[in-house]
Amino acid sequence: MNTKWEILVVDDEEIMRDSMAAWLREDGYLVDTVSCGREAIGRAREKDYALYFIDLKMPGGIDGIETMLEVHKLHPEASVIIITAYATVDTAIAAMKEGAQEYVVKPCHPQEISLLVSRIIKVKNLQRENTILRQKLARQYHVHDILSKNSRMHQILDLIREVSGLKSTVLIQGESGTGKELVARAIHFSGDRAGKPFIGVSCAALAETLLESELFGHEKGSFTGATSQKKGKFEMANGGTIFLDEIGDISPKLQMDLLRVLQERRLYRVGGSDELEVDVRVIAATNRDLPKAVQAGTFRDDLYYRLNVITITIPPLRDRRDDIPLLAQHFVQRLSHELGRPVTGISEEGLRILLERDWPGNVRELENAIERALVTCRGTTLTAEDFQFLVPHEAAATSGWQPPTDLTLDEVERSVITAMLGRTRGNVKEAASLLGIDRSTLYDRIKKYGIPR
């Protein structure tokens, strides 16, 4: 036990409460005593006692049951043991009905009290461990990076809290870089499934057959390369949450398979005949316009309605510019720590540059920009100069560079990307960061222009 549990003994008889307190202290508890119900309620307002021993009959207006009821109004989770000198079945039943955990007739055998207290405290310890775990996870994911003072984002945070306790499927929509996975994690880690796995799958990253076996698993020999049995992500997420990112990109066959899993909560491994039952919460995300895809016939409408039970739409960063200073400061703190840079803040001029930008890559692009500025920063504050890479024309003016007037925009983009990849020796992640775009956007461009790597 790191922190000691606190117990309040409520009894009008001084010797009774002092000796009981002494006995409980010997067992390692922190014990306070009061002589009447009114005082007990006062103490309950100031402190959070795990357990109350309350005498049933006390002079002074408020009896033990009333005291218990008031205490429970303040602390519904507190355990109450009602003490009485005479066993009367009626009051015992009344006390238990009103929420007393136990009802004991004094004097009782020390072993009885000792077992009773340790049983109650054991449950409290377990509950606290769970809460601590949950708070830890929640701190990590709930608040982490979903920082906002924007009212629309606050509505989303409220929605996250509301849906975290449900089992319903959630569809998260938003441009790339808006933090869809963070929202999914926040839902998972603030709900009952927090202690169970959160498994993320990017549906766009894999070919159809691979994605199928990735999601549902496969039996040995089910296809070339399936040299052993493999569990799928749905099985791995059992009891927890599966996060299907870029759901808008999956093939018609997989759409059908997924629909079956959502409807029946069962699946077959690829090449397998045994039906597996799974209890998995599905959170899907996409940056595509799914209703449009449904209209166009490229996305099944029945799957769309299955996924679309609860929809969370994350606004792009340009629609919540009020969050830019907050997020920027947060990234400075986190990244300067990670990168070991002594930077603590951003100058006003620097902030102005960040606020004026449209951020097509959203929060992730902002994070990348801060990271890049931190790497080159020489002082303890990020200044306008550190963000010059975001301001091409000014950079051009200072270096004497003139933009070419004989090229199309595509040609300019192609040559800039080619040059940047040359500079980073083909490292796409680094090139994307330096270009101020996210990796998938850069991949798109590389494909589009057929740039060799």
Partner: protein
């Protein structure tokens, strides 16, 4: 050197009182001194329960002057209880100046069996180490063989050895190093009771 002053309430076998000096000194570095026997306080008697209240004995011990740094141990042959519990083997102030131990339930004769002075002696030492341990600041220990484990029956006392477990011994050293065995702490804790 800090002292443990032993007061018997009513007659208690001198053999028992002598038996604790060495174990107490070894466990807690306390010098045991016998004090004159005192009568059992009349208001400790509970006629309805035919038992004595340990809380009253504890309070009686604390009345009157004593040297700073001294602890008091009351020992009695009568059966003790507190209002909440049907009996107690003893009672102590956690990190305080006083403790009491009863020998009544330590003898098999209490349960209708024949008397076993050797057993009483062993159980008594374990209980004294236990209650004095509370005054030093130790709380109940999960180690069944440690005198600081909670016993609500003599069978549990019989599983205890005379010596504190390593964990409790380390705590006693820590308390000493932190000065909780000093006269100042004792004065404060007895005043707050």
């Amino acid at each position: 050197m800090n002292r443990l002053l032993v007061v018997s309430f009513g007659p208690v076998s001198p053999d028992l009182l002598d038996a604790i000096a060495d174990p107490v000194w070894r466990s807690y570095d306390l010098e045991v001194h016998r004090r004159a026997e005192r009568p059992i306080p009349a208001d400790a008697w509970d006629a309805k329960r035919q038992q004595h209240g340990s809380e009253v004995l504890l309070r009686t011990l604390l009345v009157g002057a004593r040297d700073p740094g001294d602890r008091l141990l009351g020992v009695t042959a009568v059966d003790l209880c507190i209002p909440m519990l049907s009996f107690v083997f003893g009672q102590a102030q956690l990190k305080g100046a006083a403790a009491v131990v009863s020998t009544a339930r330590l003898d098999p004769s209490f349960y209708g069996l024949s008397s076993r002075p050797d057993l009483v002696r062993r159980r008594f030492i374990a209980e004294v180490i236990h209650e004095v341990g509370h005054t030093v600041g130790l709380v109940h220990c999960a180690e069944r063989s440690c005198p600081m484990s909670l016993a609500t029956a003599v069978e549990a006392i019989d599983q205890k050895g005379e010596e504190l477990c390593d964990g409790c011994t380390a705590l006693v050293h820590d308390f000493k190093a932190a000065g909780s065995l000093t006269a100042e702490t004792l004065r404060r804790s007895s005043r707050s009771q």
